[in-house]
């Protein structure tokens, strides 16, 4: 399989008056053509920073400290704004969390989609533009697009707005779609619709997707592969089946256990004790150690490397070291 996007040892820091915040620390992964990679983790773990860092949409105080971003084998780490503009929209584009702030409230939805199309095809004729807009609106499941394209975002419901944002993101036929918590602002029924749509569009167009979320249920629905992030690092990565049925990292266990589905019939929900560490001076050793009930002495001293579980499944925990005591996972039911 050819990898469309490859991230090698990427680190991103923010320079603030309080010191340097290491938001993304030494991340490596690759994304193949037509694949859905879900990135899960608590807020502040660096999920969004990673996506925006790849698209270079971060403010000036952020800096890529080290690592490389390879697109189709080409290194884009050093690209300037002009070169990035050519890539954005046509190679990768992004869906943001809140559709109301992503859309311009003073402009009809159709025109906003048209704007995105024009960006990539400046010489397009008026008629062709309209056809393309109608086609995009149909693609994302907006009924009677001809009438609706003249409406403004405030006429639309939350789900419809998110669909419009998706149409804009897909206007340039991107190869990679970053979806940054696209369903968090929506309620369950609409969320399910948008997830199905995301999957459907992805299969129709073959767009690779990086799906950022903190909802494990949503991950189960759409993801091929899952990356679990904690304190700026990927602590576990594997196929969806591997992560759900055979998770290895204690943080992944904690995330899964905090879902009500795993506590059915019990008095209280499982919680992960404590708070995520601040990333100004990340703690020595494993950042999760102080919240981890399975922590070993070495966790406080040395950072665990990525241990391979299978060819596709890696986890960064000392529990996988040959010398570590055997611990049975509290979740997961083994592979089917």
């Amino acid at each position: 399989m050819s990898s469309l996007l490859e991230i090698q040892n990427l680190s991103i820091s923010f320079h603030t008056p309080r010191g340097e915040i290491e938001a993304v620390r030494n991340i490596s992964f690759s994304l193949s053509e037509g694949e859905v990679l879900a990135v899960v983790g608590e807020s502040g773990c660096g999920k969004s920073v990673m996506c925006k860092g790849i698209m270079k949409l971060l403010p000036a105080c952020a800096q890529i400290k080290s690592g490389r971003i390879l697109v189709n084998g080409k290194d884009i780490t050093g690209y300037g704004e002009r070169e990035m503009c050519n890539l954005r929209g046509s190679f990768f584009s992004m869906i943001f969390q809140n559709p109301m702030t992503a859309l311009n409230p003073t402009m009809p939805v159709g025109r906003q989609i048209g704007e995105a199309v024009k960006q990539k095809q400046p010489g397009i004729s008026k008629k062709a533009l309209q056809e393309r807009v109608l086609e995009l609106m149909q693609l994302v499941g907006i009924d009677s697009p001809k009438e609706r394209m003249k409406l403004y975002p405030h006429h639309f419901s939350g789900g419809m707005r998110q669909r419009s944002v998706m149409a804009i993101a897909l206007a340039g036929n991107p190869r990679i779609l970053f979806a940054d918590e696209p369903t968090t602002a929506l309620d369950v029924t609409i969320q399910a619709q948008i997830l199905d749509l995301l999957r459907e569009v992805q299969q129709k167009l073959g767009t690779a997707t990086i799906f950022v979320t903190h909802d494990m249920g949503a991950v189960a629905r759409v993801a091929d592969r899952v990356a679990v992030m904690y304190a700026g690092k990927i602590v576990e990565i594997g196929t969806a089946e591997e992560i759900f049925y055979d998770p290895r990292h204690p943080y992944t266990w904690g995330l899964m256990q905090s879902l009500p589905a795993f506590s059915r019939g019990k008095e209280t929900l499982h919680t992960i004790p404590g708070m995520p560490p601040t990333l100004i001076h990340p703690p020595k050793g494993d950042a999760f150690a102080c919240r981890n009930e399975y922590a070993l002495a070495i966790d406080y001293e040395e950072e665990p490397p990525m241990f391979p579980v299978t060819d596709t499944h890696y986890a960064a925990t000392w529990l996988l070291d040959a010398r570590a005591p055997k611990v049975t996972a509290p979740v997961g039911r083994g592979r089917k």
Partner: protein, 304 residues
């Protein structure tokens, strides 16, 4: 005795309606002929998609909106009646408290946590039981699991979960008998959600207040609530005990809503079909009919 206590009704909503005028001729029926009861020491969950009128209903109960029809009896007093409300104003405003969805905007950014928690006491001129306002705030902070060191911080310095705890502490400072929480966990992370839900469960057991919990996260509602009401387009379509509702949903809308809950299991989740609910199927005429003990479903016609 305790069994009898459980049957005692604290809040009785009867045929409540609230309409937002759109133009002179048109109006939106945000809450349309809704009736339900909340018993003492009970957690009642209210679910439905956004825009179905859950928040409007909560605000009517809290006398934020003046209802356009029907009545709300709180401890046998009709709070919709302006005279009754004025006579019992202090009791009503202290014993009913509300927690809002967005703790970012419901806490004053310019007040310290200590002042936020004790503000309701100051407004109602209540002498703090524990000596000083500061001690009272410390006690409430301890209760919701926050360190007293946070008392001198501003809301902006706290994380989302901590802010939501401050909002809960403020509501509990009045020792309410009815707590209305309007999507209190929607803006939080999964692990923080679990902490807050545990906290609610724990506090409810200790305090014994009645709790109206509004949410669209059905899995949490199933875990937390004793009884659940499902709302759709301003109508209450089904009311039942949590187990009955989730195990044996009767109304087609409830079925559709339940089928949208994601299951954290990729094989099951991908194979699962969502049940679609067609808006046209929804008949807004009808009454709640009891089909089995304490299980009510909105049904067409009035044969019930």
């Amino acid at each position: 005795m305790s069994a009898e206590m459980g049957k005692e009704i604290l809040l009785d909503v009867q045929h409540l309606s609230y309409h937002f005028p759109l133009t002179k001729k048109m109006e939106i029926k945000a809450v349309d002929d809704v009736s339900f009861k909340i018993r003492k020491r009970e957690i009642f969950g209210l679910v439905g998609e956004s825009g179905c009128g859950k928040s409007t209903l909560a605000r009517c109960i809290m006398n934020v909106y003046k209802s356009k029809g029907g009545s709300i009896f709180y401890k046998g007093l009709n709070v919709c009646d302006a005279g009754t409300f004025r006579k019992n104003q202090k009791m009503l405003q202290t014993s009913r408290q509300m927690i809002f969805q967005d703790s970012d905007s419901s806490l004053n950014q310019r007040m310290k946590v200590c002042d936020i928690i004790t503000e309701p006491l100051k407004i109602q001129h209540i002498t703090p039981k524990r000596g000083s306002m500061r001690a009272e705030a410390e006690f409430q902070m301890y209760y919701v699991g926050l360190d007293a060191a946070y008392l001198d911080k501003y809301p902006g310095e706290l994380s989302g979960g901590q802010r939501q705890r401050v909002a809960i502490a403020r509501a509990l400072a009045m020792e309410p008998e009815l707590l209305v929480a309007d999507e209190p966990i929607a803006s939080l992370d999964v692990s923080i959600q679990a902490q807050i839900v545990n906290l609610f469960k724990h506090l409810q057991k200790e305090h014994g207040f009645s709790f109206l919990f509004i949410a669209h996260d059905l899995a949490m509602v199933e875990f937390l609530c004793d009884r659940v009401g499902v709302m759709y387009r301003g109508k209450l379509v089904e009311v039942a005990k949590a187990g009955d509702l989730f195990g044996d949903p009767r109304h087609p809308y409830t079925k559709a809503l339940l089928s949208a809950i994601p299951v954290p299991d990729p094989v099951i989740e991908r194979a699962r079909k969502r049940i679609e609910f067609d808006e046209k199927d929804f008949c807004c005429e009808g009454t709640l009919v009891e089909i089995s003990p304490e299980h009510f479903v909105l049904e067409r016609g009035k044969e019930g």
